[in-house]
């Protein structure tokens, strides 16, 4: 089957959705192709009630808490995807089959879901500083405007406080902050009391910037703090990329084609030819387009580039934030239950600005724990399950989970290759290798030491350090890095894939540096910039 189209966007995640919106608003005819797995069952089962009420009253809660086949009870040591609830489990559906990857050092999470990984995004929005943008290879003036466009499109709730320079920075279009729960409010109060002391150590704490609505916005509803954010997207309160696509599907110049896995692309006579297959019928499909925008995520983009230029591109670099998390006991909260009405997402965010220059900043997202259920906590305790249940029941309201992200730079020890594999649906398998140098490891350890000290000063005592392994941050970039030279396997600064005329990298594949601040907001801003640039190059 052959299809002709004007602009073709591959992928429905945050980058694909935003690129498509920019193109559609620019009057272009846009086709989006995507595998697009959806949750067809669980979200619809969830009553519109708060977590505590559901737990006390709903007989059928096991269906959306554990899954009809009890598939979300984590029985092995897998860390990536272990926290996914039944309504989010489709995020990793088909990944082993269609995106095979082999690695002993790197365990990433990829997605073929409708809305991509963004369907389970933690919603944290971070504006990169000028220095970070420059290091990543992004234009600061262009991005200042692009961030505003994104903020207007998705709705970002935050406050102007000590964390603002690292979260919303210069953004003007901001919604009121989300309510912190009682545990985080207490922590924040302690921080405010000692903020001068923390400032001397370059530690800053405040409200996170979240793509979750604190007030009604466009057709979406404000959060009701029902603590069900890991299970449902009621009222479209939390921004998900598929919401943009649902809106675009109402437009005449947008066409969404699901069940389609792209395998490679080539250029001929100023046209881009994209080879794909329908995963239901296994039928080969060819798309011929004027412009191609690739937004399948940096690892997926690497696959496509290596497959499309097998002779010229044998290996590509990659970036991924090293990530660890520390369950902490917030002592003053022992035996004091959390607010019944709260958001499940990050409650506060801490930054360790090592050099005081808003560059190479360590980001610490702080979460309280409840709606992911007690049994997951009990599993981590090195004691009998009976004792674990008793202890964790008392401790859970005092738990503060600190998720620590570190910045990442490219090195020769972080790379991807594509090997032939006859057993794979695509005939190949991605190989990933990721290791930190001794210097990088030392920096991570030293930074974590400072973060632990700061947490202790806030009365929040880390009880253990959990290292889920490289890849678990789910922040990937830099696989087809920017280069001013017209070389294979690199991206021009306007987003065009070097050695092509009409292929654009709309995800974070080009970034030359990965700040520890969550990447999604910048990826969306970048997709908008690249889509705009792709229209500029029209004949």
């Amino acid at each position: 089957m052959n299809m002709e189209c004007e602009y073709l966007v591959i992928g429905s995640g945050p980058a694909g959705a935003q690129a498509a919106q920019t193109l559609v608003e620019g009057g272009k005819n846009v086709t989006m192709i995507d595998v697009g797995f959806k949750d067809e069952k669980y979200a619809a089962l969830i009553p519109d009630d708060d977590f505590e009420n559901l737990r006390k009253n709903d007989d059928s809660q096991y269906r959306y808490l554990l899954g009809d086949n009890f598939e979300t009870i984590p029985l092995d040591d897998a860390k990536v995807g272990a926290q996914l609830t039944p309504a989010r489990k489709h995020l990793i559906k088909g990944v082993d089959q269609y995106l095979p990857l082999s690695s002993k050092t790197f365990v990433p999470m990829e997605s073929l879901a409708y809305g991509g990984l963004g369907a389970g995004w933690g919603l944290g929005c971070y504006v990169y500083s000028d220095a970070e943008l420059q290091k990543a290879g992004l234009d600061k003036d262009v991005f200042k405007k692009a961030y505003e466009v994104m903020s207007e499109r998705i709705g970002v709730a935050s406050a102007y406080d000590d964390a603002s320079p690292y979260t919303i920075a210069h953004l003007k279009n901001i919604l009121p902050p989300l309510k912190m729960d009682n545990s985080s409010e207490k922590l924040y109060g302690k921080y405010l009391h000692k903020k001068e002391k923390f400032a001397k150590e370059n530690i800053f704490l405040g409200n996170p910037a979240m793509a979750m609505l604190s007030v009604d916005y466009k057709d979406r509803k404000k959060t009701e703090y029902k603590d069900m954010d890991f299970y449902a997207d009621k009222g479209w309160t939390a921004y998900r990329a598929w919401m943009t696509i649902e809106e675009l599907r109402k437009k005449k110049n947008f066409n969404y084609i699901g069940d389609t896995l792209v395998t490679r692309f080539s250029e001929k006579d100023n046209k881009v030819i994209v080879e794909a297959r329908n995963i239901e019928s296994n039928e080969a499909v060819t798309f011929t387009c004027k412009k191609l925008l690739i937004a399948v995520g940096p690892l997926g983009s690497a696959r496509l580039v290596m497959r499309s230029f097998p002779e010229q591109v044998k290996q590509l670099p990659m970036l991924c934030n090293p990530y660890t998390y520390m369950p902490c006991i917030h002592l003053s909260r022992l035996g004091k239950p959390l607010d019944r009405y709260k958001s499940s997402q990050g409650q506060a965010v801490m930054f360790y600005d090592i050099k005081g220059k808003n560059n190479d900043v360590v980001t610490v997202a702080l979460f309280t724990y409840r709606s992911l259920m007690l049994y997951r906590l009990v599993k981590e305790a090195p004691i009998d399950l009976q004792g674990g249940r008793t202890i964790m029941q008392y401790l859970q309201s005092a738990f503060m989970i600190a998720g620590i992200h570190h910045p990442d730079n490219p090195t020769a020890e972080k790379f991807l290759k594509l090997y032939k594999d006859e057993n794979s649906v695509t005939g190949d398998k991605l190989f990933a290798y990721y290791a930190l140098s001794q210097e990088e490891s030392n920096k991570v350890k030293s930074n974590e030491k400072t973060v632990k000290k700061a947490l202790r000063q806030l009365g929040c005592y880390p009880v253990m350090r959990l290292d889920p392994g490289y890849g678990s941050s789910i922040h990937y970039a830099g696989t087809v890095p920017y280069s001013k030279n017209e070389e294979y396997g690199t991206t021009a600064y306007n987003g065009r894939l070097n050695k092509t005329k009409n292929v654009f990298m709309a995800d974070g594949s080009g970034f030359q540096y990965l700040p520890a601040k969550g990447i999604t907001f910048t990826v969306m801003a970048n997709a908008h910039v690249v889509a705009t640039n792709s229209m500029k190059t029209d004949e």
Binding site: Y62, P337, I383, G387
Partner: protein, 133 residues
């Protein structure tokens, strides 16, 4: 017959985990979960399972020892599944949602921790015994 055994297992595990006698609906859910996740004890785990179903007093000892020596034990996974199933039943919510605490809470936590240590010591030898048998 198999279902009867699993149902008995469910009751023993629930009694151990929260000190309660569970209803049939919960036992049935546990049976479904074990079947769906394909958890079948073999070898040492089968012997341990048979032993603790006959002598439930020892279950905490075996569990504590497996927690430190073999977290991937199928037998322990079955108890863990029971824990998850109970948490997802409204009848037992109070055993899982956070409670208000007091100074006695700290004492209770310390006591439970200490109990876990001595359970581990005895349980460790028990597991060694069943591994050899």
């Amino acid at each position: 017959m198999v279902e009867v055994n699993i149902s008995k297992e469910a009751k023993v595990f629930a009694k151990y985990l929260a000190g309660v006698k569970i209803n049939e609906a919960t036992a049935l859910l546990y049976t479904k979960a074990i079947e769906a996740r394909g958890l079948i004890c073999e070898g040492r785990d089968k012997k341990l399972e048979t032993f603790v179903l006959k002598y439930p007093f020892w279950i905490g000892f075996v569990d504590a020892a497996l927690a430190l020596t073999d977290k991937q034990s199928v037998f322990r996974k079955k108890i863990f599944v029971m824990l998850a199933v109970m948490e997802a039943r409204p009848e037992y919510t109070d055993f899982f949602l956070a409670e208000k605490g007091s100074i006695f809470t700290i004492i209770k936590i310390c006591a439970v921790g200490t109990r876990s240590v001595y359970r581990f010591i005895f349980g460790y030898f028990l597991i060694k015994l069943f591994s050899k048998a």
